[in-house]
């Protein structure tokens, strides 16, 4: 299950959607909007995405995970639009028979989402705004 949403993320619905009768361990990562960044006070965050490519990249990440680990279900969900402090911006979750697979696969999931999926955030402060310039993961794709 991968998606880019412009509405609030329902975390319990995601959990319910990925736990299967075979699953013994499910790992969940929740990324939320924090009130500070690089010494500045953040009021809100605005996320934008190249939605069609973002969902395609997220589907590829799910395939990469399934090649490397034995997992049951994978959920990668990112919200876009204007978010307030404490709002859920991203959720990644992996269910597996045992916790080791779930932990490892989900760590990989969130790291890949942050490094290759075309999504950008702009921080809004008391006084103005700035783009957050991340880093591309150069191991994959464009050489």
């Amino acid at each position: 299950m991968v998606s880019v949403l412009s509405t609030p993320i329902d975390v319990s619905k995601i959990i319910a959607g990925i736990i299967t009768p075979q699953s013994g361990g499910t790992d969940l990562f929740i990324g939320t909007v924090r009130n500070h960044s690089r010494g500045r006070r953040v009021r809100q965050l605005e996320y934008s995405a190249y939605v069609s490519m973002a969902e395609k990249m997220m589907a590829e990440i799910e395939l990469e995970i399934r090649h490397q680990w034995v997992v049951h279900e994978v959920a990668l969900v990112h919200r876009i639009g204007m978010l307030a402090i404490g709002d859920v911006a991203v959720v990644t979750a992996v269910s597996a028979a045992h916790r080791d697979q779930a932990f490892q696969a989900n760590r990989y999931a969130i790291d890949r989402v942050k490094s290759v999926v075309p999504i950008w955030k702009q921080e809004h402060y008391e006084e103005g705004l700035a783009w957050v310039v991340g880093q591309h993961d150069l191991d994959m794709g464009g050489k």
């Binding site: 990324g31 395609k56 989402v113 942050k114 955030k121 783009w131 310039v133 794709g141 464009g142």
Partner: protein
């Protein structure tokens, strides 16, 4: 010349002030050719070049990738999701 559809995202929107435009690309019709045309129109783009990745039809490719008429391309600035 071939014509491609350029999509613009993230901080590059502040440089191009457009979200989408048609770009006429001269020979040899590569990602690099497209970048050069664009940078001649928006000189500020040159400073971004080392950090951009080319996407063609929703897939990351190298800058020497050959473009086809009608391709959807984007120069992807460093991503910052999560």
């Amino acid at each position: 010349m071939i014509s491609v559809r350029l999509k613009v995202f993230g901080p590059l929107r502040d440089v191009l002030h457009e979200s989408e435009l048609l770009l006429a690309v001269p020979p040899p019709y590569t990602g690099e050719s497209a970048f050069r045309v664009l940078a001649s129109r928006y000189p500020e783009l040159d400073q971004w070049k080392p950090s951009l990745r080319l996407a063609v039809n929703l897939t990351y490719v190298s800058l020497d990738h050959s473009l086809q008429a009608g391709d959807e391309i984007s120069f992807i600035p460093p991503v910052s999701g999560g």
